[in-house]
């Protein structure tokens, strides 16, 4: 129900109450007034009859000549008053008896006048007395009883008053209940909505209005819900965007950090190469000279020492060339290929190493994976590098899982997971940095650094997830068709 209608119902109820009370009062007053009028007339009739009898007595007993005029006066009044109450009297005694009463009054009047003219007529006097008594009896029967009407009226008034009080009380209670309900039905939803707006204002967007019905507040509630849903949706997408932004930012920072590390490393490598070349040539010349010299004491010892220098230079060269490889903007050889074939090839390459360590390699290559366009050789190098790391990480009889898939229609995924000892959380973020290694002296710390550079160059991304004791998972994202 609409609020307007609710208010109209409340107002209507009280209007109805007022009208009903008015009608009731009117009817009650009407009854009382007509009763009073009846009682007054009946009383008049009885008085008239008594006065008539008094003057009749004066006339008959004391022969008071003047009494005849009073008699006429009272008989006329009697007749008039009986006329006023004719309807009630007829109702009480019937039309016949009423006619008889009128006839008796006429007869009484004539007889009185006859007696006034001839006071000695005893027979007539007797007749008048008889008629008078009959009239008196009839009047007492008709009007005399009505004196009791005053008691009745009082009782009736009392009852009416009590009834009136109860009715008013009942109406007030009923009205109060109805109006309270109506008021509650208007104000409760408003309060709910107010509560809701407070919650929403406080940031809780999960609240929903449960208002039903067809009034303005319910429809306000529904509008509110729609607004809520939009707000929630907007906030969700905003949060999503912010999360993505954070991720992107982190990736950007990470890649910038690695790029500058790469530049520094490459710069150092460049600078080291020249003195290293001198060491190389000097040692080489010593080797050449000793090589052609005649036998002398400790010749072999010198040769092996120089061999050690040259071997160390070789190691340094491997490192500097590796580092320069990171910064090297080589042209990639793009070709269309099946990612699954690349992964299968890598598995093939590592067959022996896997067997030696009794490692179970599970592969999950969806057959419907689309072909991608990328540099096969470089991609192979990256996957090989990561799987080799995994082989080194897991213990004998461990597991490695390689799977391919699609992140979305434009990005392919390669995931390489092992159940090795994992990498502590604080070290994972350094995994791709140059010279970071978890293999101790066995690793150069350049493998993942170079892999990172390659994947980056192919327009992709490489991430690692690891927890101590839970193994490590590398995920490589590669664009399906990378345009340089």
């Amino acid at each position: 129900m609409k609020i307007k209608n609710k208010l109209l119902v409340g107002f209507g109820f009280y209007t109805l109450l007022a009208v009903a009370m008015g009608c009731f009062m009117y009817l009650e007053l009407h009854t009382i007034i007509s009763r009073l009028a009846y009682v007054k007339s009946a009383d008049d009739i009885v008085n008239n009859a008594l006065e008539t009898r008094r003057y009749e007595k004066n006339l008959l007993l004391f022969n008071d000549k003047g009494a005849i005029n009073e008699l006429d006066h009272y008989i006329t009044l009697l007749r008039k008053n009986i006329g006023v109450l004719k309807k009630e009297i007829v109702k009480k005694i019937g039309a016949q008896e009423f006619a008889k009463l009128s006839g008796q009054i006429d007869e009484y009047e004539q007889s009185i006048h006859a007696i006034a003219r001839n006071p000695a007529d005893k027979g007539l006097i007797e007749k008048v007395r008889i008629i008078a008594r009959e009239i008196q009896a009839t009047i007492d029967a008709v009007a005399g009883g009505e004196r009791a009407s005053i008691d009745y009226l009082l009782a009736h008034l009392n009852r009416s008053m009590i009834l009136l009080l109860f009715t008013i009380a009942a109406f007030i209670i009923a009205g109060a209940i109805i109006n309270m309900k109506l008021a509650a039905s208007i104000s409760n939803p408003i309060r709910d909505l107010e509560e809701a707006t407070k919650r929403v204002g406080g940031g809780d967007l999960s609240w929903r209005s449960e208002l039903t019905g067809r009034d303005e507040i319910a429809s306000l509630g529904m509008s509110f819900n729609r607004m809520q849903e939009r707000l929630s949706a907007a906030r969700q997408s905003l949060e999503l965007a912010i999360t993505e932004l954070h991720e992107k930012q982190e990736q950007l920072l990470e890649s910038e950090k690695l790029a500058s590390l790469g530049r520094i490393a490459a710069g150092v490598a460049h600078e080291i190469n020249n003195p290293l070349a001198i060491v190389n040539e000097k040692a080489g010349l010593m080797q050449d000279i000793i090589g052609i010299s005649d036998e002398f004491q400790n010749k072999d010892k010198f040769m092996s020492l120089i061999q050690g220098i040259v071997a160390s230079v070789d190691r340094c060269r491997a490192i500097t060339h590796h580092l320069l490889g990171y910064a090297r903007p080589t042209e990639s050889v793009m070709e269309t290929m099946s990612l699954n074939d690349v992964l299968a090839d890598v598995k093939g390459f590592l067959h022996k190493e896997l067997e030696d360590k009794r490692i179970a390699m599970e592969t999950n290559f969806p057959v419907d994976l689309p072909q991608i366009r990328s540099d096969k050789g470089q991609l192979e190098q990256v996957v090989l590098n990561i799987v080799r790391n995994a082989i080194e990480a897991v213990s004998e009889g461990g597991h490695i899982n390689i799977s391919s898939g699609m992140k979305d229609s434009k990005t392919a995924l390669i995931s390489i997971a092992d159940d090795g000892p994992g990498i502590p959380q604080d070290k994972v973020k350094h995994l791709f940095e140059p010279f970071f290694t978890t293999k101790g002296k066995k690793g150069t710390g350049l493998g993942l650094f170079v892999s990172y550079g390659i994947v980056k160059k192919l327009g992709g991304m490489i991430t690692a997830e690891s927890k101590s004791g839970r193994g490590t998972t590398f995920t490589i994202q590669i664009p399906v068709d990378f345009r340089q």
Partner: protein
């Protein structure tokens, strides 16, 4: 022809390096001349034509890449091997475009370097022979084109 001494010009501002390298190459039967910057290299080439130049890229004054360009203008048949500690793949590409024979990174293995020098020398001889063959046949244009191919 193959018994002929290969004339190698080493160009590098790193004296310690280039002198030592020179000695080692001499020990391996090559005829070695050494200069320490780009200008000297060019004036050397103008006077006498070496068979192969081993050229550093990063030098004060005229750098290796400019020297390579000039050498190929002056004497297109002289073969140039870049030997550098600073080279990127981009430099590699550019050097080859300018007619460089090969691109080796320092520190280099002496045996590899000698192999490359010999290869460069063979290349030079082969070109010359082809040019002569064409020239004898009267196809001067082709001969010239082969000689100036790298420009």
């Amino acid at each position: 022809m193959s018994k002929k001494e290969i004339k190698v010009l080493l160009v590098d501002d790193e004296v310690e390096f280039v002198d030592t390298l020179g000695q080692r190459l001499k020990m391996r039967g090559l005829k070695v001349d050494i200069v320490y910057d780009g200008e000297q290299a060019l004036s050397f080439v103008k006077k006498t034509a070496p068979d192969v130049i081993v050229l550093d890229l990063k030098m004060p004054g005229l750098d290796g890449m400019e020297v390579l360009r000039e050498v190929k203008k002056l004497k297109p048949d002289v073969q140039v091997i870049i030997l550098t500690g600073h080279g990127t793949d981009k430099d590699d590409e550019q050097a080859r475009k300018l007619g460089g024979f090969d691109f080796i990174r320092k520190p280099a293995d002496i045996d590899l370097l000698v192999v490359k020098i010999k290869e460069a020398f063979s290349e030079k001889i082969e070109r010359a022979m082809t040019a002569i063959t064409f020239a004898e046949a009267g196809v001067f244009e082709t001969a010239e084109r082969i000689i100036k191919k790298d420009e």
